[in-house]
């Protein structure tokens, strides 16, 4: 795969949409003259069958291994090219589509010749990127170890059964292995399911007797490490001091949350005012109580309306059992009018036959408990009534319990306050959809009854089985664009892990302080803010490296005129907005050249600096509207990096406005057009950065600083917004103080060091301190020189008592 890149360029006429607007023959001529373009041709429609066949024949003829197609939206077309050319050995990343139609042809009124110039710049930049791009080998995910089912939820059994039905061995961790005890505990999670216990018992026995299921008895999950395919799990086992370790390929988590008793304000006392979970035990295991039993479905009153139906259902099952078995029992179910009753016609008829009353009450008049009577207002007339009671049965409270939180924490799950366990919100790849149902089941994840929990377990088992079978057949491939952490460079600072919003980065093994981090490619969404945040350049995004972006930005900047600028566009907001602007024929300023990026969060400050080093007078970065970012906070991270660049520009005496951040929405192309226009005016008013050796040296020092200075990169990463932070850091107290006193001061110190280093690197000779002071026009440099000396960057020797500094080899 590491052969020399041979790039072919195909230009599209797109009927009359590109050809008359852009001077394609001139463009083709310009591109053919480039030494790094092996082949260039204009086709009427490269995307249609005749065009694709022609491209394939040219690929074979010229042994092309990279392709740049200049046509329309890559977002729509790339997949078709990738599909058609995969047989020619083209993997994702080896084909790039430049949007000649919507970023060049349709959106400005410049002449076809000028448009061909603009097109050439964009295409040449894409080709330059292709040249430095080394495709990674296609990896596969191995799943030799069995799947493990943890959490101990009731869905574990259906998941295990489904896996064994598929002939897949699995591990099942259970805290309680005795069938009767398991059944007795079910009512703590799912009340009102007694009639189904015989079937549940059958299921549990089947799983216990299955030869495919290995049960880890009386075990509790204590630690998880590893990535999809090779997990290592530790369990603590009752009455045993040793920790048991197991290898697993995938983890199915089945957790049910234990219901708790209602609050005192509803009169709960455990004797006459009971909770459904307590009462069920009495009814089924002891005597059926005589007299008036009122089930008050108080879920709406206790702010958990979404569970009202579950509570009503379980109340009905218990009430029905009481009425059937006992003559002296009278049951009333009192429910809020907002709730549709979860009963079928037959069940309603049965209720009438048994004399089980179902009474709805007005939602605005809260029922009130008093001695022997409960008051409620009827619907429509709002007349208050009284019901006699001997015992009141309240709905249980659904809250994430401590045990669930503990297991969730071990598995790295997150949850919104008082809500369900969740993995993450990122949904940027279609593969991420359905992710939950493959790995999670139980009432800790969704509101559900026993039946739904079991069917979720079955589904998790089925999907997991499919995954395992795919992996065993060698057909499970991780996505092409994922982060990779070089274990030799990783210093275990943990910044990436704290910033990752897809739960993909974990500690490889052992202690977090010394063990490198590792990326799970099956979870990584390729957002890439981790790579840009790594203080030690240990993270790369496979097939989409920082070097590629730097090269593309550099190539574009190199070709640009004095009033043109680079625009980085997020592929979720600004890039579609730009595409849509083209589709709608909106006209805007042509001086900004667009480079699409998967998320603005992956633009390293070094990419911005590189553009300036190579002569760009301005850089514009257009991301999503805050809080709309597909990668949680890529937008906020980009903001921080731009801010760093602005600070450095101020320190070096350049205009801060040269680098700007904008927000865009895919459905508002007109706003994107305005953004481009406004920034173009800014750049035009500023003019180019004067091309003096001093300015060049300054820009190069900025590049050196943001790319290699670990102190600044660490300070920057530490200040980035974390995925769980609901408010932006900028809102917090002390931030200004931190920014002013710590960050900016550190920048000043490090910038001088970077500039010194730049002098040593370019001049390649020794300097005395006086010379250096004059070059940098600084009063004191001794501290910085000492530090560089200590870091081993420079060394010094004495000539006639004066220290002379030179670069270390």
């Amino acid at each position: 795969m590491n052969e020399i890149s041979k790039t072919g360029v195909f230009l599209c006429k797109c009927g009359k949409k590109i050809e008359p607007l852009v001077d394609l023959p001139a463009l083709e001529k310009k591109l053919t003259a480039e030494s790094n373009i092996i082949y260039c041709e204009t086709l009427p429609y490269p995307c249609l069958t005749p065009g694709l066949n022609h491209i394939i024949s040219k690929i074979r003829e010229n042994n092309l291994n990279r392709l740049v197609i200049a046509g329309c939206e890559g977002r729509l077309m790339l997949k078709k090219f990738e599909k058609a050319l995969i047989s020619e050995g083209f993997n994702k990343g080896q084909i790039d589509v430049v949007n000649l139609r919507d970023h060049v042809a349709n959106v400005s009124d410049i002449t076809p010749e000028e448009k061909s110039d603009k097109g050439a710049k964009l295409i040449k930049a894409a080709v330059a990127e292709m040249e430095v791009f080394t495709p990674c080998d296609q990896e596969t995910v191995n799943m030799d170890a069995p799947p493990v089912i943890v959490g101990g939820g009731i869905a574990s059994f259906s998941a295990a059964k489904e896996l064994s039905r598929q002939g897949i061995d699995s591990l099942l961790s259970l805290e309680e292995t005795d069938t009767d005890s398991i059944l007795n505990n079910v009512c703590k999670f799912f009340p009102g399911e007694r009639p189904n216990y015989s079937r549940l018992e059958k299921l549990i026995k089947e799983v216990k007797n299955s030869s495919h299921v290995t049960i880890i008895p009386k075990s509790k999950l204590s630690k998880v490490s590893g990535i999809t395919g090779i997990y290592s799990l530790s369990f603590t086992v009752d009455n045993e001091p040793d920790i048991q370790k197991y290898e697993a390929s995938t983890i199915i988590t089945c957790i049910d949350r234990e219901l708790s008793a209602p609050e005192k304000k509803f009169g709960y006392d455990g004797a006459t005012v009971l909770c459904q979970t307590d009462f069920e035990d009495i009814v089924w295991n002891k005597l059926i109580p005589k007299g008036n039993t009122v089930f008050w479905i108080n879920d709406y009153e206790s702010d958990q309306g979404k569970f009202a139906q579950l509570s009503a259902r379980s109340a009905w099952v218990t009430g029905k059992h009481m009425m059937e078995k006992s003559q002296d029992s009278k049951v009333v179910i009192l429910y809020n009018e907002q709730m549709p009753l979860p009963l079928s016609a037959q069940e309603r008829a049965l209720s009438r036959k048994l004399g089980l009353s179902l009474i709805s009450y007005d939602k605005s008049i809260k029922p009130v408990l008093q001695t022997d009577y409960i008051n409620f207002g009827t619907v429509n007339d709002r007349l208050e009534h009284e019901l006699p009671w001997d015992r009141i049965i309240l709905s249980p409270v659904h809250k994430t319990d401590k045990k669930t939180i503990e297991t969730g924490r071990i598995l790295g799950l997150v949850y919104a306050e008082n809500d369900f366990l969740n993995t993450d919100h990122v949904r940027v790849r279609p593969e991420m959809i359905g992710h939950k149902e493959t790995y999670f089941a139980g009432s800790a994840f969704y509101p559900c009854n026993l039946e739904t929990a079991l069917s979720q377990g079955r589904k998790a088992g089925r999907k997991n089985g499919e995954l395992v079978k795919k992996a065993q057949g060698g057909k499970l491939f991780p996505p092409r664009f994922v982060s990779f952490i070089d274990p030799d460079k990783c210093v275990s600072c943990g910044q990436c892990q704290a910033l990752c919003d897809c739960n993909a980065i974990s500690i490889a093994d052992g202690d977090g302080a010394i063990s490198p981090r590792i990326v799970d490619p099956m979870l990584c969404t390729g957002g890439g803010t981790c790579a840009a945040a790594c203080p030690y350049q240990a993270i790369t995004i496979k097939n989409n490296t920082n070097e590629q972006r730097e090269t593309r930005a550099a190539s574009l900047s190199n070709q640009m005129a004095d009033d043109e600028f680079v625009t980085f566009a997020c592929s979720w907001s600004a890039l579609p907005a730009a595409d849509n602007a083209g589709v709608r024929n909106l006209k805007y300023d042509h001086k900004g050249h667009i480079i699409g990026v998967p998320c603005v969060g992956l633009i390293d400050a070094s990419v911005m600096a590189k553009a300036f080093v190579e002569g760009a007078p301005g850089v514009l970065i257009v991301g999503c509207v805050p809080e709309d970012c597909h990668h949680s906070f890529g937008v906020d991270h980009a903001w921080s990096r731009i801010n760093l660049m602005k600070k450095l520009f101020s320190l070096c005496g350049f205009e801060r406005q040269r680098i700007a951040f904008a927000h865009s929405d895919l459905n508002r192309p007109e706003e994107f057009a305005n953004t481009m226009g406004s920034f173009s005016k800014t750049v035009a008013s500023l003019g180019p950065i004067e091309n003096t050796p001093e300015n060049k040296a300054k820009l190069k020092s900025i590049y050196r600083l943001v790319k290699y200075n670990s102190r600044i990169r660490l300070l920057l990463s530490a200040g980035l917004r974390r995925p769980w932070e609901t408010t932006y850091k900028g809102d917090q107290e002390y931030t200004l103080a931190y920014d002013r006193e710590d960050f900016t001061e550190a920048l000043k110190e490090e910038l001088i060091k970077a500039r010194l280093e730049e002098i040593f690197v370019t001049e390649k000779r020794s300097f005395n301190i006086k010379e250096l002071k004059e070059t940098l026009s600084e009063d004191s440099l001794i501290e910085q020189l000492d530090e560089l000396d200590l870091e081993g960057v420079i060394t010094h020797s004495y000539k006639e008592g004066i220290p002379f500094y030179t670069l270390c080899n």
Partner: protein, 201 residues
Amino acid sequence: MIKFNINDTEVEVEPGCTVLEAARQYGIEIPTLCYHESVAPSGACRLCMVELKDGNWSKLVASCIYPAAEGINIYTETERVHNVRKWLFEMLLSKCPGSNEIKEMASKYGVTSTQFPIENTDEKCMLCGLCTRVCEEVVGLSAISIVDRGVHKKIGSPFLVPSDVCVACGCCVTICPTGAMSARIDAVRRTPDVTLTPLAL
């Protein structure tokens, strides 16, 4: 290779091509709306109708889905084709009078008014289903679909509520040939949920 004639000019394409692909390869213009290169053709809008002649006998076929065959004679600008195009544009103008794209295209082919009643002057969607196809074939999801049946047919997410499945990539907006989707996407996409709490120790 297959040889056949379009407008009495001989064209040559590989097997598996459609008539439309062949015509485009040779620079012959055929109007299309529901056709997009990134997805499989569906032949929904019928605007790409061409006449296939065989001696005295002829029929109209949708060129985007009609496979090229040896020796057939295709005509793209006959009276029958013009007639059918005119009626199609009139129907489109009555169904989606709000769409500038359709208006421009129709006037290019000489149709500026419609004899059919106009129900909703703001309507832009012609229900070609291109957005649902791109969602399925390119994005790999089915966040939007054609909801309801018959005259109640419309484009939207299931139950017409913002969908969890939608990743808000905007492919449907970009591909929409009539500009109708931009008014609909806000009812489909969902703001990502960013209120996450880490599990406390």
